[in-house]
Subunit: 401 residues, 2 copies
Amino acid sequence: MTYLESAVPLAPTQPEFELAHRTARLKSSLVRDILAAAAQPGMISFAGGLPAADLMPPLPLEAFANSALHQYGTSEGEPAYRSAVAEWIGSMGLEVSAEQVLALSGSQQGLDFAAKLFIDEDSPVLVEGPTYVAALQVFELFGADIASVPLTAEGPDLAAFEALLATRKPRCVYLIPCFQNPSGTCYSPAARAGIAELLDRYNVPLIEDEPYRSVALDVEHPMTPICALLHRASWIYLGSFSKILWPGLRIAYLAAHPALLPHLVRLKQAADLHTQRPGQAAVAHWLAGGTQASDLGKLCSGYRLRRNAMQAALARHFGDIADWQTPRGGLFFWLRLRGELSATRATLDKALAQGVAFMPGEAFFPDPLQGRQYLRLNYSRSTPEEMERGLATLAACIRGA
Amino acid sequence: MTYLESAVPLAPTQPEFELAHRTARLKSSLVRDILAAAAQPGMISFAGGLPAADLMPPLPLEAFANSALHQYGTSEGEPAYRSAVAEWIGSMGLEVSAEQVLALSGSQQGLDFAAKLFIDEDSPVLVEGPTYVAALQVFELFGADIASVPLTAEGPDLAAFEALLATRKPRCVYLIPCFQNPSGTCYSPAARAGIAELLDRYNVPLIEDEPYRSVALDVEHPMTPICALLHRASWIYLGSFSKILWPGLRIAYLAAHPALLPHLVRLKQAADLHTQRPGQAAVAHWLAGGTQASDLGKLCSGYRLRRNAMQAALARHFGDIADWQTPRGGLFFWLRLRGELSATRATLDKALAQGVAFMPGEAFFPDPLQGRQYLRLNYSRSTPEEMERGLATLAACIRGA
């Protein structure tokens, strides 16, 4: 007898069990589907966002040998890790105390906490259009009514941003100011100052997400965190080591305005008690070790070569059909197709059938129709030869569509 | 200028920012407060539930040296880990496929997912009275309307259980059938069968939480998971390695009815993308290594000695003022005080002032008043001398209250 063929009679008053309403918003992720397809043998994949493991420093195994760290730890995180992270954030221009730092099991967890903290059913939330797919996923799960502000090359359109603050009255704003995923945009100092001034004026909390900050290939101006420019508005700053050190360990952090941190610590306790301790110790060891500058220098040199190879291959195959900014950091190219050309799921199916994976733009907008002309291409995992071959195939698919 | 003294004018339409309604239910945890107090130097603590780190096997460091595991992994978990866990669960009497297993970052995470899956604001939920504090915390966070079924020495009172199913129509039932925290209750085979039959009849999903199953000191009967006895009702089975192997690594799992697993995988992805990979590999290595029986034998022998020492000291100091069952597993004694005696927060404050920490019963009931006569005492972290001295002090505090 299987679960579906049970002969046990149901109580007449309760014929079917009921799930929470939010499960209706728990959609199958386009990204998951694509990544599963992209994992097929022989596929050239520009779809994912995996960092290059060969560019990461070695893992300090002594952190795992310390049996004191095998016992339960505190929800806030390891003291040495919190201190080292506070210093690391300070070096970016955001002064925080170790007590404002909370260890996270990956920065995705910070989005879950932000959603729990700010979002009731139908709460307005403001994001960039386009934005990070898994942020949309978790905000929608909690019932957010999401609006997006258009991005220019310098950051959000400030007039549109103010209009949305005034009319939508968002519970919070979610931004990725450094090498934004997917667009690669790095906000200018003027955009950062303008956003901060508006958030203060309208007193809207900021969730600032910075996974790509350290993958900085050609930086032309300061990248002061917007959180550091706020005087009144509340804020959560999310950072991750997963693009520079061992993403499989799931070690990240948030820092928060002192008024929000006690809530976040309780959410952490309720979510998973605490983050694994040896992984925190390994990252703290790297942060204290004095090899940061050389390790990041090597990592960025490696990424720069790959980015440049991708730029050259794109110029050959997409120069007449798309426009893009060469990304100054992060892991992605973001292309806008010209004229009537589009990169939809149908285009993706065609490309997959020919052995090439990419991410259609529709995944990155609250309203998928806004994404039809766009595609995201990861450059960190392919060889120059794969780029050449894969982009030629992909361009042909798009031209033929 | 501090955050509190800002001179930036607020927009008149939005004077204060707003948090989600659920944050009003994000209470300061009594347990956290007590554990902080219990961590003072010189304190004899019966308050926490830390397993004995000296009884755990050594961590296989080779799992961490494998750099393939430093890259991002899948939300479901490592294939080797899922297979090994499916076999481990099968050995308990619950047959599942590896595809039904989801790696968790600690089994607390399974409670977060269960809450997201089943609980809307005011959804009825049924738990044991008393029950696990952090389950109450996360169910309340999501707005559950929690009712509790009284426990007998054999398990829940079945007549009360059926009445609550019929009248409350709970979205789900949360049970800890093996060496329940805090009561130590181990459900009898008859209670397990009776619960399963009622859950099937009323078609109410079960969340079965089994962190203590392997800390089995004197088992007199089979402990078949109730999930294995269900024919129709849906279920989530939660298990953890944190009481037997390296809790600081945060490696646990759930297995679920096939209809629920896709939802749970998406919730996992939205919560933290995936569980740290080297930790899964380390546990899979232990599960495949052939030392399970001897390692668990040693661990349980160590716990049995401490449990017996605690029983002897309790008999000397609490024999005339309290009643209890000697626990046959798990990490706790659960005492019911006689007559008008109580163990409230005021009693706790007195005991803390004299260097002894314990957990008052009130933390473990949805209605704290039900817990006034009870206290929970952990036996796994104190020496016989500390037990003797600490329990003498605690008994005097309670008699004097």
